[in-house]
């Protein structure tokens, strides 16, 4: 990959052409807030929090750094008054949109916003429509169980027809990436309740400890991705860990323990 020269916050650096400015800046130790960005996903550019000021030739403009490819001669500033003002307004608007989201309020206060000047709207809960859940579900998990519906100010995230989803595998990836904690999921007995998506999933017990640890659909989903050659053992992460530890111990001491009789993660 070709190296290009660029200036970030006054520091001249060489970086690979077409890497994202956000990644390069963060590696330099510059902190840039983001809400819709996740390193495992394609850049999206929706939350507008990662804006930076870019100068190329005579033109200076604000743009999101998460989807800005580094090119020769770009001058990037991450903390000009325009950038700070922009982030302030973004956070103020998001506060008004999702007044229950404590994380947004915390961020907004860091930028000096005490209270939104706008009428608040409380129909989305903590959701700020960053789309991380939608993208992780389609790009990474491959289930595409949730999506955006409606357009513009009516936009929201839900399952098809707002109904219980057949495609949801209950993997909780959406809940993990959600920056505001909007997505709720609780395991009760042998059932995982994806409350936000109105979906309930039967779970599988660990063959070792007997704890329900994974929705059956997620288990099948992973198994189908692994293929027939690698049959997945029904063992929970905790037991798997102690099993591995036991094997390591056995290998180092040369003694055979009971632990080796525990089914392996893969039954090959």
């Amino acid at each position: 990959m070709a190296l290009v020269e660029t200036v970030i916050d006054g520091i001249k650096i060489k970086a690979e052409r077409d890497r994202w400015a956000l990644d390069v800046a963060r590696e330099m130790g510059i902190s840039i807030p983001t809400l819709c960005h996740h390193p495992a996903l394609e850049p999206y550019g929706a939350c507008r929090l990662c804006v930076v000021e870019v100068t190329k030739g005579e033109r200076t403009w604000l743009t999101t750094s998460c989807d800005l490819p580094i090119r020769e001669g770009l001058k990037i500033k991450t903390d000009t008054p325009a950038v700070i003002e922009s982030r302030k307004m973004t956070l103020e608007l998001l506060w008004a949109r999702a007044p229950q989201a404590e994380y947004i309020q915390k961020l907004a206060r860091e930028y000096g916003v005490e209270k939104p000047r706008f009428g608040v709207c409380d129909d989305l809960g903590k959701c700020i429509l960053c789309g991380l859940c939608v993208r992780v579900c389609s790009e990474l998990v491959g289930a595409s169980a949730i999506s955006f519906t409606n357009r513009g100010v009516e936009r929201k995230i839900t399952t098809p027809f707002n109904a219980s989803s057949d495609s949801c595998i209950g993997c909780n990836a959406c809940a993990v990436v959600c920056p505001t904690g909007h997505i709720l999921s609780t395991d009760i007995g042998l059932v995982r309740h994806m409350e936000t998506w109105k979906t309930e999933l039967d779970m599988v017990r660990c063959q070792v400890c007997g704890r329900a640890y994974i929705p059956a659909k997620e288990f099948e989903h992973i198994q189908s991705k692994l293929g027939e050659q690698m049959a997945l053992g029904k063992i929970c992460p905790l037991c798997r860990r102690s099993q591995t530890a036991g094997r390591l111990e056995a290998a180092s001491t040369g003694t055979k323990t009971e632990l080796t009789k525990i089914p392996a993660l893969f039954e090959i």
Partner: protein, 632 residues
Amino acid sequence: MIKSIEELAEKRSSAKSEFYPKRVRISVGMGTCGLANGAGDVFEGIRDEVQKQGLDFVVRQVGCIGFCQMEPIVDVLAPRLPRVFYHHMSPERGRELVSGISEGNFCTKWALARLDQDKLLVELDRPLDGKLNGLASVPTFEQLPFYKDQVKIALRNCGFIDPHDIEEYLAAGGYSALSKVLMEMGPEQIIDTIEKAGLRGRGGGGFVTGKKWRVCRQAPGYPKYIICNGDEGDPGAFMDRSIMESNPYVILEGMTIGAYAIGAEQGYIYVRLEYPLAVENLRSAIKQAREYGLLGESILGTGFGFDVQVSRGAGAFVCGEETALIASLAGYAGEPRTRNVYPAEKGLFGRPTVINNVETWANVPVIINKDWKWFAEIGNDKSKGTKVFSVVGKVRNTGLVEVPMGITLRRIIYDICGGILNERKFKGVQTGGPSGGCLPESVLDLPVDFDRLTEAGSIMGSGGMIVMDDRICVVEVARYFMEFLTRESCGKCTACREGLRQILEVLERITSGKGVPEDIELLEELCLYVRDNSLCGLGKTAANPVLSTLRYFRQEYMAHIEQQKCPAGVCRELTTFRIAPEKCKACGKCIKVCGVEAITGKKKVPHLISEDKCIQCGACREVCPFDAVITV
């Protein structure tokens, strides 16, 4: 199937003799605008009358010549006589016209204009006798104020040829540019020509077309794609529809030339859902072009292959934005992405893609035919050629106006379009659709081009022009456009989705009389934020209606807030109508039109509006012939 360029030339000369036959040819303007005004019935009336009388006339369906006010329009082309256009036709008038022609008398009653030489609009000369057969009293097109200053490049042939017959396009010089390109020009030379001509994108952005093509040609990646953006979504803009309906071949020819220049083999025309006739005409044009060997695997036997497919939008305004269009075309939701990498490098299916607007493509064949110098002489310093405007609203002549760039707004509105309707006062003109700005009287002498409109706080956009008189409230107009854009925003980015919602909320507060002085500042702050931080062109320009009205009509905002008055008498909560007794002639028109019986009065006694009953609809003011209904 035409297998060589020589064969095409032969085909053209035979088509030419068909186009100017030895018999009378009657054409009915049947674009959507004509059809909406009853052109279908007119066509049937004329055709039936011709059949009934057993006349050897040709009756054709053509597109529209852009004079909306005058629809339905019919024209008559008789051998060796000027082509005569008739306006406001009805089936009865059509039958009368046919009878007249069959007896040798050209009726002049509904004649709009005559065309002595087709040079003005069609690239064709035609032998005339010099006799006018009683048509001397009919003005020529050059004498009509509406057409006098127009220069037709993109709209040439529109309304003159049958959009379902490729031979008519050939007769009018069609595909000569493609022949020229295939015979004597290399891809680089084509791009040079387009770049030197100074052609800039007609869809709104105004990016230099040649430059875009060059980037795409040089970009690595295969295959490459050509897209025609026919998702004309601005309310009040309809030039692209007119071209797609009236002359679909010119788009195909332009795209084929573009494909040859950048090395593409597949093209797409993305047409908005609301244009069924455009889709129909484009599809029939593509079918014919394939049959004639002008699209397909080896065009004119040269080995160069290119094909085009029509794709329909689903009715979203944002899909006019090129990255959203590309997403929609590829089967995803029509949402834009950041243009830090241009579609010319990474577009449809991640491949280099040239995307141009309908009007831009329609300019390409002429530039190739006439050379860049000819084109670069039209227009002004940085904006070359012509631009089609669709002028609507409170002007006398509404329709499509194609004028050289750099002409002033005043000339378009007053000279070409005949000024403001009902002798009212001009207040503002919204250029560039909902993303444009509202410009006041003081900038009417502004030359209309890409850069100067932007400097004035508006945009060229696709060329919509909505003219407003003094009975329009600019704050309400701004609110209306914000409502439109809030609904049409895709909602992907925070700036546009949340920013527009709050702007709309503030404007609603002001127009309903609940505004406070701080609202102006808040509005400005929000607008600048949305402009600078939105992801795509929709958001970046969405605040223009508010920013421009704040710039030019700030006192009107203040009147709403401080005096609690809507000076134009539009915002209901801020308007009280009264009848000025000295002006009222007690004609009773207002009493009849009032829907809530709020007006009382007798003969010879000035009428009275009851404030309790009045709902401020303004109907009485509209009908009063004496301007006696006033706002207080």
